[in-house]
Amino acid sequence: MIIERAKGGEAEAFGLLYDHYLPPIYRFVLFRVSHREEAEDITHQTFLKAWEGIHQYEPQGYPFGSWLYRIARNAVVDAHRKSNPQVSIETVVAHLSLGETQSEHLDTKFEWEALLAAMRELKEIEQEILFLRFVEDLSHGEAAEIVGKTEGAVKLTQHRALKNLKAILKKNETKQ
């Protein structure tokens, strides 16, 4: 088993875990900080901490990724404590492949910007749960494990977040 080998100090095994889990962890961090270099720094720190502490990792019925998400989440909170986050929706949108023609490109870009701007108006916990549930397709249980809440609380927050997001999008469209 790869995790057991990595726990035994085998760098090659941890390298495989890194390759598998890096993209979702990077997405999660970028979504939270909206700044490319900061997202790269936090992602790097997350995997470094995981490698240093992997011998302490004990599976508790959830995938290894849940443990990494928790480390990443704490790292984001620490980074936000040290410096005020400067949210840049363009940074996130720049990572997305947009339409091929200029018209498609602009339409898609505006759509993304509208959605991400509306997301930013939600509470942090609502943003996290929407991201974990619908971007990373995690179960309610895994999302609950990562954010430190019960499954019931996650379901409730998800329902409330979607409702609020729709209301914000409608409000913003009306303004335009």
């Binding site: 100090g9 760098a11 890096l22 997405r27 490698w51 011998h55 997001l165 999008l169």
Partner: protein, 162 residues
């Protein structure tokens, strides 16, 4: 434009296209795996088993000592309850015999004290007169002996008559 939950979720799923920069991935991976703070390798199964046994032995030893201390106190307090009675011994008979022995010893001691303190018959009669406890014996002694002088006198008369 009216948005449904499905529409929003589909749009959110599009964020999966976000990928980290290849240069960052390569450098970060190399740095992490080459870091000096590599985790301590886990001890082998035999070492872990030995550690577990050692811990188990220490725990058992402490528990045993604790039990010895606790049970020792309890046993000391309830020894008479825990020990079975000896077979073939009549406790009543033993107690009666012990009482009889005590009574005899007390009697002997009284006699020793009595004869030690009162060397002559007169002394004994006077002493008996002052002890109400032996009233019966006192009368008998007084009847038998009256005074030594009277006895001596009667004896002399008998001797002279024969």
């Amino acid at each position: 434009m009216r948005r449904s939950n499905k529409n929003i979720i589909e749009k959110l799923q599009g964020l999966r296209r976000i990928q980290p920069d290849n240069g960052f991935v390569r450098d970060s991976r190399r740095l992490i795996l080459a870091s000096r703070n590599a985790p301590m390798p886990q001890p082998g199964i035999f070492v872990r088993a030995a550690q577990s046994l050692s811990f188990a032995f220490e725990t058992a030893l402490v528990a045993a000592l604790f039990l010895v201390v606790i049970l020792g106190g309890v046993f000391g307090l309830s020894k008479s309850l825990l020990l079975p009675p000896l077979q073939g011994i009549d406790e009543k008979a033993l107690l009666t015999e012990a009482d009889a022995i005590n009574y005899d010893i007390n009697l002997k001691l009284d006699e020793i004290a009595y004869f030690g303190n009162h060397k002559t018959s007169t002394d004994r009669v006077v002493a008996l007169g002052s002890r109400g406890a032996y009233a019966g014996r006192e009368e008998l002694t007084l009847t038998e002996s009256a005074t030594d002088k009277e006895i001596d006198k009667l004896l002399n008369q008998v001797i002279n008559e024969y």
